[in-house]
């Protein structure tokens, strides 16, 4: 029984951690972001499964994670009021070529990082951007001005 409880705690802790760390950690490729995303799975695994090498243990933990993932996404889909709590709202970070400083600061994003993301999408300058939106997934979507 305790393996399921540990899995639930592990899931909720990682979920909370990712929510409070903000969206930038979900998609950016800075060294410290990568460190966090790469090691977190390894570090949490031993706390959850401990000395359990059994197939039953693996099924129970992976199953618990699966059920919680479905439950959270269903709750987000079904209950609109829960949505901003469970997943961050899309955030406008550039409007008509001008960065929205308050929102960039909130997400610890620099204009340089946004411009780099724009370049990855073949947009040479933020002046060409009508809207840039930091999505819930941590990715930035760019809508360019009509030419």
């Amino acid at each position: 029984m305790d393996i399921v409880l540990r899995a639930i705690f592990g899931f909720l802790f990682i979920y909370l951690l990712l929510r409070v760390m903000g969206r930038r950690e979900l998609s950016t490729q800075q060294p410290f972001d990568l460190i966090m995303l790469v090691v977190v799975g390894d570090l949490i695994q031993q706390g959850i499964t401990q000395s359990d090498y059994s197939l039953t243990g693996a099924v129970l933990t992976v199953g618990t994670f699966g059920v919680l993932t479905v439950a959270f996404s269903y709750a987000s889909f079904r209950f609109k009021r829960l949505r901003p709590i469970l997943e961050a709202e899309p955030l406008i970070i550039v409007q008509n070529g001008k960065p929205v400083e308050k929102n960039l600061r909130h997400e610890r994003l620099t204009v340089g990082e946004v411009a780099a993301e724009a370049r990855l999408q073949q947009i040479p300058s933020l002046d060409a951007v009508e809207w840039a939106v930091l999505e819930s997934s941590g990715k930035i979507s760019f809508l360019t001005r009509p030419t």
Partner: protein, 173 residues
């Protein structure tokens, strides 16, 4: 001004006050910092703590962590200093030493082991005046062994109590 992308509004997606979210974020990070700081002080285990008791003709010292975490290895060091002849130096360990703990080794091996009212009895035999016995017990915490338990230790000469140490151990999940 151009229309916002579909399903986005300036009120919700640009100008919304996110101070509550910010407070929650900072509060959680502060809590994690506090936990890390507490861990640095040994709050979550496992620096050893020494307990000493002087009794009639003998002294017992116990050095072992009083806070441990599931799965960790730790050592209990039991020192008996005889001030007079002890016919049968016997340590009696509370159940907290064994309940949900693996004993990996006991060095030196006692000459006899038994149980006294549910507690482990380790008989190390004869000790002369000024003899010093150091017994090392190596443990590992069973991950499901969470909680607080008594880890008292009593030193007997046969059936005669010489000294006793009151201790507890807290096992974190």
């Amino acid at each position: 001004m151009a229309d916002t992308p579909q399903y986005l509004t300036l009120e919700t997606n640009r100008d919304c006050d996110r101070s509550g979210e910010l407070i929650l974020r900072r509060g959680t990070i502060a809590l994690l910092v506090v936990m890390a700081a507490l861990a640095l002080t040994g709050f979550f285990g496992q620096p050893p703590r020494e307990s000493v008791a002087h009794g009639e003709g003998a002294t017992i010292e116990v050095l072992s962590p009083n806070r441990v975490r599931g799965g960790l290895f730790f050592q209990g060091r039991f020192t008996i200093i005889a001030e007079r002849d002890i016919e049968s130096a016997t340590l009696v360990l509370d159940r907290g030493w064994l309940e949900g703990m693996h004993i990996n080794t006991i060095e030196p091996a006692p000459v006899g082991e038994s149980s006294r009212q549910g507690r482990l009895v380790l008989d190390f035999g004869h000790l002369g005046p000024d003899d010093k016995l150091v017994a090392y017990l190596q443990f590992q915490v069973n991950p499901t062994n969470v909680g607080r338990r008594s880890q008292g230790v009593e030193l007997y000469d046969g059936e005669t109590l010489l000294a006793s140490v009151e201790r507890t151990v807290t096992v974190f999940p």
